[in-house]
Amino acid sequence: MSVVLADLAYWQETTIRLLVGLIAVLLPAGTLVYLFLFKMMSFMQSRLGPMEAGPYGSLQLLAEVGKFLQKEDILPKAADRLIFKLAPFVVLISTFLLILVIPAGPDLWFIDVDTGIFLGLAVSSISVIGILMAGWASSSKYSLLGALRATGQLIAYELPMVLAVVGVIIQAGTLNVQEIVMAQATGEIFGFGGIGNPYVITQFVGFLIFLIAVQAELTQPPFDMPVAESELVTGYLTEYSGLRFLMFFIGEFATAAIFSALAATLFLGGWYVPGLEPTDNLFNVIGPIVLLGKMLLVAFFIFWFRFTYPRFREDQLQQLAWKVLIPLSLVNIVITGVLKVVF
């Protein structure tokens, strides 16, 4: 994008960046909601899901958004008004910041920083603050419990996620996301370079840990304790309605989309498809589509787990994180490091 935008005025560039950013957040989020939440879930439950709005219910999302916009914006009397109103924005900000680091083609990116992946994982944690704000400000016990659970959970799962990525970083030898993609595109597995080196093969354990951690990070079942409907009503979302709830909702699914994209970028080769030269200008056109496809593949698994599994208990979740995932990812790092030195 930087190349394309080189000879535009600053305000034009900013406007385009803003629009592309909005599309990049909302389009995958909408796709996920329609494709998985509406349709796949319905099919897995022997029903059709929304069918009335648009062909095959494809415009249902617009109807939903319209519905949320019409709803009364309820502010609990005892709520901390400022923080209550601010919380959804904080969650959304984290989502928007996260998209910055993911490249969609050899020249398509928002920012190109050398510590890209580090930045991405760091900003993804901002949402915890938003959730904690929401839970605290709602002045509801369910919200508070949900927010505290969310905090505990996100802290616990941030760690295995980062550690799982460390394996990739060691193998790629860089923190720059674009270069990680390039490393996968040009790499070879034990001398065979036909399909590049998507790290899902060499970093399979890391990929699994990353997926589980993402699942928990997104508070999707089986790790949905923070919103656990049957226990905490909807956790930190309990007191939210209308537009503010919609923002949380967008934040949730946009984050799901972006984390899937991140997983696709780190482990499945990102915008690259084997057989073509990675610097080919063609990728600036098909790159986003390839990335979207790979993202959907990862998201399919995330949502498949979501619709199949019951949830853990909070203590079981913590045990899984600290006793299984973190040791496992440490072992993974050690092995990766050793192999890196050997080969």
Partner: protein, 390 residues
């Protein structure tokens, strides 16, 4: 219920109590959480006030009455045929089963007996209402633990059972089909064959649930050794049905002294489980659905021909006397203590509903568990609000 598990539970409770004491000593303030009356997990309007320390329950106090409809009072002004329209709203998921014990009690007082064909069809419908009821439990338990899919499977397959019940009785939820001295009507043509097909679906559903829920390691870790009820305590609280059978008590009224239904002429098995935890309660119910399918299949093969109604007067006056009849309903033992004074209406009807007793153990059971387990224990006890509040 083995001794070791019992001691474990006791030790667990003692440890929790000690923890709670320590925490109180260092003056952490507890929190009171109102679960209900409107809460996604209470399927109805049960309210549980739990006192929490962190996420651990110090004490739980269920409050009911949000749905009390005063059926015991209402029966006193309704004629015997009118009472069945009331009582099938007690446990609305297995409503035909609610009518049966009342009708049997009235029959016992009137000293009439339904003709064999009526008894067989009655038993078939009785078991079908059990399936309709428990199938929903099997799905609902998943949803309480956060798995959304099983409940849709349950609704999907329960529909077929309800269709079959509707084809005979005319009502999906409130059949009002049982009459003193027999049944309102006979089976429609083709029903038996259709029901066989439906039972296959139910068995298939049971298999699906077995892989999707029972076999799931997360489900097991959430339910095993959670909410353990020792047999003796369960009995003294009056727990019944699958709740007590999953504590290892081999007691099923259908087999042991049930009157008026033909279970004893069928070949079936009473399932028990030694553990007494949430998982056992789920597992026993799953097996019971399968067993019900077996029973209905045998009934379909063996329905005798004949009339479905004994000779009873058109205006029913039940002779003075008292009778208590209980049956093994989907939720547990349901009984009616009917006092008649020879009038058109009963003088007093005491409705002994299963859920009321089953839930009365919760203050004991919920001590020291975590909030998520409150939900899973309540779900595994399986109550219907109408059955608690009557």
């Amino acid at each position: 219920m083995s001794d070791t598990a019992d001691t474990k539970q006791m030790a667990y409770i003692a440890a929790q109590a000690a923890d709670a004491r320590v925490n109180l000593e260092i003056e952490t303030e507890g929190m009171t959480l109102n679960i209900g009356p409107q809460h996604p997990a209470t399927h109805g309007t049960l309210r549980i006030v739990v006192r929490l320390d962190g996420e651990q329950v110090i004490s739980a106090d269920p409050l009911m009455g949000y749905m009390h409809r005063g059926y015991e009072k209402l029966t006193e002004v309704r004629t015997y045929p009118q009472v069945t329209t009331l009582v099938n709203r007690i446990d609305w998921l297995g409503s035909f089963a609610n009518e049966v014990p009342f009708i049997l009690a009235a029959e016992q007082l009137m000293e009439v007996e339904a003709p064999p064909r009526a008894q067989w069809i009655r038993t078939a419908l009785f078991e079908m209402s059990r399936i309709a009821n428990v199938v929903l439990f099997l799905g609902d338990m998943g949803v309480q633990l956060g798995a959304v899919t099983p409940v849709f499977f349950a609704f999907r397959d329960r529909e077929f059972i309800l269709n079959q019940i509707e084809a005979v009785t005319g009502g999906r939820f409130h059949p009002n089909f049982d009459r003193i001295g027999g049944l309102k009507d006979d089976l429609p043509k083709g029903w038996i064959d259709e029901t066989r097909g439906v039972l296959k679906r139910i068995r298939n559903f049971c298999d699906e649930i077995e892989t999707l829920v029972v076999g799931n390691e997360i489900f097991q870790s959430r339910t095993r050794n959670i909410g353990v009820i020792p047999a003796d305590i369960g009995l003294s609280y009056g727990l019944s049905g699958a709740n007590i059978r999953s504590s290892g008590v081999d007691w099923d009224i259908r087999r042991d002294g049930g009157v008026g239904l033909v279970h004893n002429e069928l070949d079936w098995k009473v399932w028990t489980h030694p553990d007494g935890d949430s998982f056992a309660r789920f597992w026993v119910r799953l097996q019971e659905v399968r067993e019900s399918c077996t029973m209905i299949e045998q009934i379909l093969d063996g329905i005798p021909s004949g009339p479905v109604m004994a000779k009873v007067p058109r205006i029913i006056k039940v002779p003075a006397g008292e009778a208590y009849v209980e049956t093994e309903n989907p939720l547990g033992v349901m009984g009616y203590y009917v006092i008649s004074k020879g009038d058109l209406t009963p003088f007093r009807v005491k409705i002994r509903s299963a859920s009321f007793n089953n839930v009365s153990i919760t203050p004991w059971l919920l001590k020291g568990v975590y909030v998520p387990d409150v939900i899973s224990i309540l779900a595994s006890l399986y109550f219907i609000l109408g059955d608690i509040d009557r």
